[in-house]
Structure formats: structure tokens, C-alpha cells
Symmetry: D2
């Protein structure tokens, strides 16, 4: 930690500050420059996180040197993590994992049809919401446990893994019973109680980036999970909020190389929510893979016209098939393959 003093900080202020630093068990190193005095603080920054040195008179600003997260950082674990979703599906290795399915589970027929079709094109994880976070209280809120059962059945029939969203700490046992991967949605990325709870499980977690979360906050949210003992976290970029309104969100592909540099955790990309429009899903899916994404999460619906949620961003199975063909070519161009069938 580095403390920059105000130009005219008094000796008394400097002495008071040095004393406080020593009280915290740290070692101050004072260097008097031509225009400012600067104090470098040596020792664990943890102590300082709690203590607001900015408010001490004479202090102009405090600049942390170390990163605020630890377990998720590449410094802590230099090699990339490969997360095992079971049945042979692994995220973070050479193959790009594709998660696909409808936004919401609506009924048995539609879910089974979608699962079969996406499986055939190469998806290995079935996505689908049973509990839905909807902006309006008047929108369809999901089928609940009935939806979870259908997901499990459809996954069994197609030998896929299931990822579905947990929205409330009270539902954790229920979701855990049916899901292979527990999704924490963008709106819950800083629902810290939820993060602590899934940190207690021994099951992979797909953590979506909050729509206005910095990458720093995103990694700190993951740190909540790892700090409870669960290291099986897959990060998911799904678009951030900006001023641009031609897309529903701005899918931030820069996040892929940035996260890869800072953290060992794998990153998947959701171009369906990220753009909000099926027309942009294919180019952005290809771009995500070219930028180094470890996986894709894509919404597919056999009849978007009657979808109960997010119809405009869902692909027809036909288009998904084309997209998969195209994505495989791009994956090959960057030395990767698209995941094959999950064995059960």
C-alpha cells in the first residue's frame, strides 16, 4: 500500500500516520520527494483494508499495490483450472464446451425437442431456467420444481449435463438435487449470502458477471465462493450495461483475455443475453471463441414466437446447427475443438 500525503502535510500529521501504521503491525517506509512525501507500507495489506487511512488528516490518497483477491488469482495458481462438470465434460481445457437450451423450461415436449436438437449439433450441457429472475413481476416466473424435474429427465434422455439458476438461499437443496452445475445469475452476482452457500457445496458453479460489475468485482464475487472451499467455479461474461442501445447489453469480449491474465478460472460467454438479439449471436459466438473463450452458452427455442421469455434472442435449432458448424471452424483456427458428447 502506498500513501501519498498532501503537499503541505504537517510533521504532526505525518507522525500520527506513521504511528497508526505501526499500530497495525506494518512497516512504514517514508520517502520525501520534491513535491510530496510518500509512505510505502510493507506487510499484509489485509489489515489496511479495514482501516480507512484516507480519512487521516494530511493524507491525499491511498493506493493499494496488491490485488484484493487471492484464491482466484493466477499468482496463487499459475496454471489454468479445468473444471469437471461430470460425465466427461470439462471446461477450461482444449475443448470449447457448448451449453444450450431454452431460456425458460416451458413444457416437456418443447424441452425434450430442444435438448435432442442441440445435443445433435454438439452441445453437451443443457441450459434452462426453472426459477426465472424477471424484471417485471407480471412476467412468467418459471415452472419451479416441475421445471427442474423436466430438465433432469431431458438431460438423462439425451446424456447431457444440466445447468440451471439458483435465485434464493432457501432453494439450494432443491436445485442441488437436480443440477450438475449451479448457475448464479448476473443480478445475483453480489448476493453474497448465495455466494457463501454455493461455496459450501462440492458442485460446479457457473457465475455470471453482474451487468455493471467491474472485472475486479467479478473476481471478488468468485473469491467469495472459493474462500468457502469450492474451487469449481466457471465465470461467464454475459454483457455489461453501457450507453449503447442497439444491443440489449454490450457483450464485453475484452473480459476474456483480461480474466485469463488475472485468474486461472475458465471463462464462458453468453452471446444470447449479451446482445439480446438472435441476429448477433452467431458472429459474437465466433468472436468469443477466437478471443479465447472456454465455452459458450446459447439460447435455442424451437418456436421463438411463442417463447415465454427472451424469444427475440433465441436461435431456431436450424440456425444453431449452422452456428455450431461455423464455431467449430473458428475453434480449429485457434487450436481448439468443440466438446464431444458427454458420456454418462
Amino acid at each position: 500500500m502506498i500513501i501519498v500525503l498532501k503537499p503541505h502535510a504537517t510533521k504532526r500529521q505525518v507522525d500520527h500516520l506513521i504511528e497508526r501504521i505501526k499500530t497495525l503491525g506494518l512497516k512504514p517506509m517514508v520517502s520525501r520527494g520534491t513535491e510530496r512525501t510518500i509512505i510505502g507500507v510493507i506487510g499484509s495489506e489485509d489489515a489496511l483494508r479495514v482501516q480507512p487511512l484516507e480519512v487521516i488528516p494530511g493524507v491525499e490518497k491511498v493506493m493499494p499495490v496488491l490485488k484484493p483477491y487471492k484464491l482466484v488469482s493466477r499468482e496463487f495458481k499459475p496454471e489454468s483450472s479445468v473444471i469437471d462438470l461430470g460425465a466427461g465434460v470439462r471446461v477450461g481445457g482444449k475443448s470449447v464446451v457448448v451449453m444450450a437450451g431454452p431460456c425458460s423450461v416451458e413444457n416437456r415436449a418443447m424441452l425434450f425437442e430442444t435438448a435432442r436438437l442441440v445435443k445433435r449439433s454438439g452441445a453437451t450441457v443443457l441450459r434452462g431456467g426453472a426459477f426465472k429472475p424477471r424484471t417485471s413481476p407480471y412476467s412468467f416466473q418459471g415452472l419451479g420444481e416441475e421445471g427442474l424435474k423436466l430438465l433432469r429427465d431431458a438431460a438423462k434422455a439425451t446424456k447431457m449435463r444440466v445447468v440451471t439458476e439458483l435465485m434464493d438461499t432457501r432453494d439450494i437443496r432443491l436445485i442441488n438435487q437436480y443440477a450438475d452445475v449451479i448457475q448464479i445469475g448476473a443480478r445475483n452476482m453480489q448476493n453474497f449470502e448465495l455466494l457463501k452457500e454455493v461455496g459450501q457445496l462440492r458442485k460446479p458453479v457457473l457465475l455470471k458477471r453482474g451487468l455493471s460489475a467491474t472485472i475486479n468485482e467479478f473476481l471478488l464475487a468468485a473469491e467469495y465462493i472459493l474462500s468457502q472451499g469450492n474451487f469449481d467455479v466457471v465465470l461467464c461474461e454475459r454483457g455489461i450495461r453501457t450507453f449503447e442501445d442497439q444491443t440489449r447489453f454490450t457483450l464485453d469480449l475484452n473480459a476474456i483475455p483480461v480474466i485469463k491474465k488475472l485468474s486461472h478460472l475458465p471463462v464462458v460467454v453468453d452471446p444470447s443475453h449479451g446482445t439480446g438479439s438472435w441476429e448477433y449471436v452467431e458472429p459474437m459466438a465466433k468472436a468469443a471463441v477466437a478471443a479465447g473463450a472456454d465455452g459458450l452458452m446459447i439460447e435455442v427455442h424451437p418456436n421463438p414466437e411463442v417463447a415465454l421469455s427472451d424469444g427475440p434472442q433465441s436461435l431456431l435449432p436450424k440456425r444453431f446447427e449452422t452456428l455450431m458448424r461455423e464455431v467449430k471452424k473458428v475453434a480449429a483456427a485457434v487450436g481448439r475443438s468443440v466438446s464431444k458428447e458427454a458420456e454418462r
Copy 2:
């Protein structure tokens, strides 16, 4: 709802669309322009919210005419709501209510001292966190129930009302037992399960705007609560995320007149979190009142240097006293007063 067709939409596409509209029990009104055909849809837009007409071939865009919320709107209830917090404290009327106290409850002595001091300067509601949403898992997470008890005791001793944050549906009974006003924090503004639960209570809710929530989404979050039967909602602007980094967030005072126009609910402003720096709290508090805020929420700490959270944005009691004097003058200039003592 208005549907704009693509320039070369075919007759078959238009017919299909008209049929779908009729299937939903609505009445299409077709008007063929020189460059585009436009279809106005008459009837309840609720049906259409669920059905993604954008995905129907030939459709270029769908523009909703009505607002997506209802109960919170000024059209539903033209006169401004006044929310009774009990013991004579009312938000939304002529007087500006001041909520003040430490960011976190840290210990008995500090809390009681702060409560007495802010009360003396004119605050009527005591704020303080017992459960804290912290960005890092390594930061102080709050005293829990012990903190709630201290809050209740301090409020009793000073004849103030208590507002404190609920973070998890499992804690609702606990918080309800100690709080007069239940706060939903910015990071939980779209924690829809939490919103539904507080909607079931008969206790005032202080709903903070999410840091990247549009005003539309903010009002829809409030609609979740009202739609469950609880109409006692106070909205709180606390800063949005923008590119500017001189302040921790950008306190959006424009939200005050905008919300006043759209909704009957009262609005309070939190300049402490909104700016993240005690130096900006006083000017922004005065500006908030000048813009029409119904209340202020301000962090005060007797010794910010040792605060366990948010020290840099906390005011010393001395400065809070000055701020209150200044705020009272501005309130008078806009025809309002600052709330007097709460009777118990």
C-alpha cells in the same frame, strides 16, 4: 403497442402477424404509410409482454406505448404517497426526513454516541448495518443479531426509528423483529425473491436503486413489492455507475424529478454512498433537497479513522451538525422543513 414492419414485408407476413394479434384477444389497426406499414395494437399490453412479436418475420421493431409498471405509477395514484414510519415520522410530506448513523454497527458505545449526536442535530431515523454486503469476502461482515439488538436499544434510548438492511430471505423474521423500516440494498434491488418477501410484510421498505438500474427497472422493482400488497415503499437514489472515477458512484439527482413525475412514491437520497467521500456529502445533500428529495440518508461516525466500513465517506458528528443547519436553510428556500423529533 405499435409494430413497425420491415420495408418489404410480404402480405403473408402481415396476415400472419394480424392473426397472432387477434389470437391474443387484441385488435390490430393497420396503417400503410409511404415507406412503412405500421400496426397499432389496441387492448391490454400485458398479453403482449409475454409474446415476443419481434421474432415474427417481417417485423422490424415493436414499441410499447404503455409503461410496464402500474401500481407505482402516478397515473394509478395521482397524489404523492406519504409513508408512515411510525412514531410521527412520515416520508413524502412537507418535512424532509433525515436518516443518519454509522455504516455498520460496530459496538454499543459508538452506536449510542452516534445516535445521540445525530438525534440532537435533527435526524429521526437511525441507520446502521448489522448484516453487511461487502465486495470482498475478507471485509467485516457485520455483527448480525447482536447488531440488531444494539440498534433497537439505541433507537429506544434516543426515541428514533430504525432502518437496517435485509440481505437474505432466511433473515426476514429476524430483521422484521428489530427494524421499523427494512432496507433492500442496491446490490439486491433485483433480488426478486427478497422483494416478494418484503411485499408480504406490513412494514415500510426502503428500496435502494441498483447501481446500474435504469429508473424504469427501479420502479419495476418497487412494483414487485406493491404487487404483493405492501404499498409502503420509500425509494432511495444512492449513485449509479458511470465512467467518472473522481466519485465512487455518480449520484444521479435527476432521478428525483424524474421519479416524482412517473411515480407517487417518495424519494430519499444517500449522498454518502453516492459520492463515497465525506467532502462531497454536504453540497450534494443540499442539492438533493433543492431538487425535491423527501429525505436524506447520511453516514456519521464519531471516529472515521477506525470505522470498520466506509470510513472515507462518513461525516464527523460536528460536520453533520453543520450540514443539518445548512440543509434546513435550503429546505426552507424550497418550502419545506426538516423533520422534528419522532414521538414514541
Copy 3:
């Protein structure tokens, strides 16, 4: 400047870096911490601005200690600047200066009528565009020199000062001939050639904040003008671009106390452009004054229905009169007055 090294920087890398620092005539102070080595650099940071030390192997990040601007800073000039616009109008002192008028100069009758009305209510500076920066090439582009002449005439008739926008270096002599204050618009805040040119003049400049300019960049743009010798710069906050779409921009009143802290230059606020809607102009004008603004810039049009630009945000003269009455009360509450008549 502080240089943080990577955890495993080699001795050779550190030596190379130290050598480079010395080559630049600066003094490195190395402090080896438990986790990182940090080098403080003593001497003028100017040399370092040009040299990208970040790219030297072994360097993790470079943190500047000093501010990048100098002449505009409060450290350079602790007392607030008062800018003399001539004829007794001064910005930055005790009185709040009000600049008002139509968005564009449209014709003689309308301009004279508006000038008379705003003058009567207390405005002392007449605003009006003769050259208009319009987003679309098909919008009204202004009357050009004819508009400038009308402005001058209207100002003479009403004893007001004139502020009008300069958009192109080629027009500088022309504008200088007619204007008392030269406005640099938001879209030209980083038109550096324009900044250098007005820096050569001895005439007050009103510099509007770019719609995505940080306060740091805003002050650096002003520094361009001061560094050429023209110290008469008035800063103008006029709304920044954020995700919120209920207002055209997000008027950032936080900028007022932030700029006041960092710089000695006066700040005026334009709530008309900042919100884009006449309904929000009055509350935000009052809030601006409560937050410490030194002036207001407000669009007034006798018949907004037929305005050739920005009608929706223009106030009727009647409403402007009311606004002025209200603003005067708020100004009094914060110890200021609204400027009286300019003498000529």
C-alpha cells in the same frame, strides 16, 4: 511516480529499469516488500509522461502521484478565480450569473423578445447559437454571421453580454468580433486546435464538458487554454452520457464540488442540455445552485413548439421567470445572490 514490479521480476529487469529512470534525470528509491518490490521515482513527472515505463519487462504497473494538469489546479492557485465577462458581470464571486436565451438564433423578433424577457427576470448574459453542432446533417445548422449580428444587436438593446459557440478554427476572428464570451461546445472539448486558438485570445472562454469526458480530461482541456496564456476560463457541466435514458444526458452535479476541490476555475451548469426536458430544468437549476454552482445556462424560447432546435428542453419565458424567483431563494439559502443587471 510509483512503479510496482511483478512478483518475480529478475535482478536484471530491476537494474535495467533503475538505469532508465536515472537516464531521465530522476532518482529511484527502491523498497523491497514481502510480496513486491516498489520503486518510488523522485523528480519531475513530466519526463515520465512521455516515456512508457509500463512496457519495460518486469513492470506490473505505474501509478502517477501528481496530477497531470498544473495551471488549472488549486495547488497552483489556491484562491478561486473570478472571471470578468465585462460590463460588471463576474463569474466565480458571490453572485450566481445567469446566462439565458434560445438554443439557436432563429430571427430578429424572437431573439429580441427572448432577450428582453430573460433580462427582466435577472439574466445578464444572452446565449444563442449562430453556428450549431447538429447530430444530423439534415437539421438546421444556424444562421451564421447573420445570427451573430442579431445577437450583438439584441445584447446592445438589453445591455447584456453575449456568449456564443465557436465550432471551427477558421471562424475565430468572426466570433471574436461579436462575442463577449466564446463557447467551446461539448463535442469540441477535445478539439485541441480550437483550444489552442482560444488560448491565444484575451477573451473569456466558456468550456463545456464533453459528454463522456472525465473531470480529469475536462481539466486537461482547460489546461490547454491556460497553457497558451488565457486564464479566463469558465467551466460548464452539461450532462454526461450514462445508461439512463429517462433524461437525455445525466447532469452530473457531483462535478461541482469535485471541480471546486481540484481547481480554482468557476463552474456553471446547463440543466437544459443536461436533462433534455424543460420539466426537469427548474429542480436541477435549484440543485446546481445549492451544490455551489457559480452560474446557470438556460434555454428559453417564446414558442418552443416552433423552435428550430432543442424545443423540448426550452422554457417558456413565464416559467423562466418563476425559475428565477425560486433560484434566488436557494441562492440566498447558500449565502449567494443572483447577478444583477450588467452595466454597459
Copy 4:
């Protein structure tokens, strides 16, 4: 254009509105819904752009149906434009054009070395700034005409085309003399006088997206150029300003498919400025090509440590060579090639 009336608009208000619409030579189509009356306006929207119908009493909102630009739209010209830069270099066709070189022209030796190296790896257009828009007045401002001459010489020696930035209308003849493509920088995207001037030329223009420009505004800026008669415009995405600070800007690759849908103009991407860090240039360049970009603009410097501007984002020639190899593979995967040598 569609006009939504307020719930309780009076008959007189509606009649006044209808009359105004007719006065403008347009045809109103009134449809009275259960909750609102809506008026569709048939005829050219151009007339309405100038007239602010929002301010007419009784009007709640006005929703434009048509796009505000015309010549740049794909509706105006359905097939994609291919812009000829001369000497066989064409942007917008099957091959991806690579523009590379230093941020600023610094001296002859460095420029010629860079040009030779990037040419060898497959770049066909030499980029380099002679006039530099710098945030600080104390930063290196470019070599001016001397730099232009060096660029021309280096391009001649290597058989490349030259793209360089025009910052001021007064320099247009000078730049036009030396450049094959005239660049309008991000900070000048809404410098409308500059746009009009290059619109008068018959030379390709590379228009960079403003850092807070919506795609709509970006296309309108291009419309300024086309409306003057110059149809040879290449658009360049170079990062937008968001809250994320791990990258200097947020390179918005979503803009590629969005612009391709709305406009016939080609799009190139600048990952160097877009991310601000050389480490992210390669993944984002590959992603851009995968998403459909027609070209890349990349900063290369033989010794970034001593670069006079933007060193941190410049690639070493070695890394540029690797990048080109990788980009070619991705281009092939999406059915494109990277441009070969420009013939002179």
C-alpha cells in the same frame, strides 16, 4: 412518426396537434385505444425532425419510426460497399485489410523500419500520426508536415498506402496532399465542420467512432460525409467508454454485426486503442475478424519503451508477425483472406 397522447389529453389539444401535423404537409391517422390515443403520422419525417412535437400540450411522447440517416443505410444501398484505397487495396470485399504502423511518426529511421516490417507480415496500409490529438497539452504533439513527408516516403519505399489523421479544417489541403486515406479521429467524430470538408473531397475517409458515440450517432456522422458527395467512408470501431477500467476503453465488437445490418459501409477495428494494452491486441484482433470486421488497424513500434505516444499498446514487430499468422487462420475459418501486397 408515432405520437402517443397523455391519458387525459383534451379534445382541444388533440385538434391543435392534428392541425399542426397538417400544416407540415403530413397526414395524421388517429387511433383511439382503451387507455391512450395514438396518432400515426404519414409522410416524410424530415419535416418533423425540425419541429418539436413533444412540447405541444397533451403529447406524452413522440416515437420516430424511420431511421434518421439515409445514404449510409442498407435500405438505401442493400449491397455492401467496397472502398478502393488505391493501388489494389480494397476494404469491404473478401479480403481483410490490415493497417499498421506506429502511433506517431517519430523519426525517419524508426518509421522506415516499422513500415518494412509490417509490410513483410502482410499489412498494406501504413498508419502513423503527424498531427496528434493528445489529452494533455504537455504531451508530444506530432511532427506536423515533416511527419507527413516521412510517411509518404516510407509508403513509397514499401509500396503501401498511407492513412493519417486530419485534426483541423485549416490543414485539409496539406493532409490531402500526402495521405491516401484521411482519418477523422474519435475525438473529432462530431467535429461537423471537419466532416463537411472531407465530404467535399474525393478521397477515402476513415471515420473513427467517438468514444461515447452511439452507433446511431456514428452513422449520422458518416451521413455528414456522404451527404456532401463523398461515399468512400470506412468506419472504425476503436473502443467506447464504459465503467470498466481494466482496459483503457471497451472495444465494442458488437458494433460490427450491428453496423453490417444497418449500413452498407465497411468496418475496421482498432484493438490497440480499443484495449490500450498490447497484451490484449492479438485476441481482440482475432475476435474482430471472427465477428466480420473488414480490416484491422494495429499499432506497431520497434521499441515501445521509447515511443513518444501510446507505447503500452504498441506491439513489437515480432509479435505483430505472430498476430498476422494467427489472424490469417481465423480469416480463413470465416471464409476470408488477409490482403496481399498493394501494387503501385
